[in-house]
Amino acid sequence: MYGWYLHHHGIYRYNSMMKEYMRRYKFDGDYRLRKVFQCEFSTYIRQIPTDYIVPIPITTTTWQTRGFNQVVGLLREVPYLTALQTKIEKKAPQSSKNRQERLAASQPFILKTPAKFKHKKILLIDDVYTTGRTLYHAAELFHQAGGDWVGSVSLAR
């Protein structure tokens, strides 16, 4: 469907224990818990050869309530780039758009400096991979910008 394949690594299974961890870390907002997997997760990421490491961003609303990006929280001594930005959520109802508009609108991210990623390797980082929708949206932007290879790592899948 895209003409390319996303190389994904999920470190842990997204089982009930991991769900409980995510609930407490992300939804209760206990930022201290980032340290549980920080070292292991960062070590894993560092050994993957890549040009840029890009964490999935969170929305402005999440910044105002949660106060931290749970993906970035998991990184320690990892040189990452905040190349992605979330679009401002529009209030227009989905039903008012045609198919083309819908597909275009469903892309939640903007790539800030596309030129930078031409012929580069990009590694995307997320906390949980479920359907892969989010990561595919992000990867699409890097492919459009002419990236050579896009892979992704998540703590859980």
């Binding site: 209760d28 907002g29 206990d30 309530t65 106060g67 990006n69 970035v72």
Partner: protein, 445 residues
């Protein structure tokens, strides 16, 4: 538009960017100091390094399970207006009768509540504490006061709720605890865990704290703070317990807390005395044996058809004691229970129904359960899991029935220790007070 009553006497957490509704006051969430932060809900200090969020924001990790308090939030608060609907008469719909002694204590408690005093009701296990606060609560409702009843234990709250619904059938009662999904609603009478008190701010005219000592290691300081936080500045507070801890007793000695005693049980008898016996049971248990004294004691109970509870220190001790006793008492029916036992309630019910001759248990059965006419034995009462108040509660399981107001309470210890001595002293102290009352009554007759 949200009903303003949602904010009455409470601190409700909202996003700091939210627009403020008319009539609502905004209170700060966190005090940022040079090296640490202080939470305005739970009053705990946290080092900045631990409490830090990105972009120089901070949160409080201590009370996070009540919903995270951070610098990204603010509190909404409306001062308690005591705006309650008039209640249909009668307020008190309880038709039981108090003994003359209970009546007297109940009256004192009610008078002190009317004066908004801070007081302790030290009533022995099985004295009928709950019924003695009814008069005070009824009078407070009549005065239009907001009343809170809190306990450190959810179990206690859950047990109190239906009893109060019966006793105050015309009054609306709110029940709040951590495992509940029901939304909050404003009511004149609120039952909640002491933890939930932190959500209130200068709400209650009178607050009752039941089983204050239920968690022996519960930080007394944070409980005291929660109480102060939830009470109005001139509010009264009643602590109920059978086993006051050091902190409360200190308050009593320093005369900051008025105290009423009820040293006799509802049936008018003294508490069974604790006997302490030195035995080496752990070594014997390794060889699937128990000291002869213990076995003889238990045998005596069984022969006389007195059922009993045998307390052991840890869950892991249950199975070895069970197997050992199977060899000694093959003809008797018994089982083990612990907190996470899926059949816990069934087993307790079977014990109640007389289907077991005895139960081997950890300290979960220390309070809140009544089996009539039983004896109580504790193996390893000197081990750290048994605090002095736990031991007093355990001893209080014996002699609760009018039909057999006495019972054996024996603590088997491998060395003498402070908790055991304190428990014995507390029971003897209440019994001396009880004996004095009994003597006065017999002189009058």
């Amino acid at each position: 538009m949200m009903d303003l009553s949602y904010y009455y006497g409470r601190k409700v957490l909202v996003n700091r960017l939210a627009p403020v509704p008319a009539g609502v006051r905004v209170l700060p969430t966190i005090e940022v100091r040079s090296r640490n932060i202080r939470c305005y809900r739970c009053n705990q200090l946290t080092a900045k390094t631990i409490a830090a969020l990105p972009h120089n924001e901070f949160y409080c990790p201590h009370c996070i399970n009540l919903g995270r308090v951070s610098t990204l939030n603010k509190f909404y608060h409306v001062p308690e207006p005591n705006q309650f609907l008039p209640i249909k008469q009668p307020i008190l719909t309880w038709h039981g009768k108090l003994s003359p002694l209970q009546e007297q204590v109940s009256l004192t408690v009610a008078q002190r509540m009317a004066r908004h005093e801070h007081q302790l009701l030290w009533a022995v296990t099985g004295a009928g504490k709950t019924e003695m606060m009814f008069a005070g609560i009824a009078a407070a409702i009549r005065r239009g006061e907001r009343i809170g009843i809190a306990s450190p234990r959810v179990d206690v709250c859950l047990e109190l709720f239906p009893r109060l619904q019966v006793a105050f059938a015309n009054c609306e009662i709110a029940l709040l605890h951590g495992r509940q999904e029901l939304p909050y609603h404003y009511a004149q009478l609120t039952i909640c865990t002491t933890h939930q008190l932190l959500r209130f701010y200068h709400a209650f005219d009178n607050l009752i704290i039941d089983e204050v000592d239920a968690f022996p290691y519960a930080a007394d300081k944070s409980l005291l703070y929660a109480t102060k936080h939830a009470l109005k500045a001139d509010g009264g507070c009643l602590y109920l317990t059978a086993t006051p801890g050091d902190a409360l007793l200190r308050e009593v000695r320093q005369r900051r807390l008025a105290v009423s005693y009820l040293p006799l049980r509802y049936h008018g008898h003294l508490l069974p005395r604790i006997k302490v016996q030195l035995v080496c049971w752990r070594q014997r248990l390794k060889h699937r044996q128990l000291p002869r004294r213990c076995v003889q004691r238990m045998n005596k109970s069984l022969v006389r058809h007195h059922r009993f509870l045998l307390f052991v220190p840890h869950v892991v001790d249950l199975s070895s004691v069970f197997i050992t006793l199977q060899a000694y008492f093959p003809r008797y029916r018994f089982a083990t229970v612990h907190a996470n036992d899926p059949d816990r309630l069934i087993k307790v019910q079977r014990m109640r129904d007389g289907e077991y001759d005895f139960l081997i248990t950890t300290s979960i059965l220390e309070r809140g359960v009544t089996f009539p006419e039983i004896d109580v034995y504790v193996l390893g009462a000197d081990e750290a899991v048994f605090s002095s108040s736990a031991l007093v509660q355990i001893a209080g399981r014996a002699g609760r029935a009018q039909s057999r107001p006495t019972g054996n309470v024996i603590l088997w210890v491998s060395s003498n220790c402070r908790q055991v001595r304190q428990a014995t002293q507390q029971i003897n102290y209440m019994n001396r007070k009880g004996q004095r009352i009994k003597d006065e009554v017999s002189v009058m007759q």
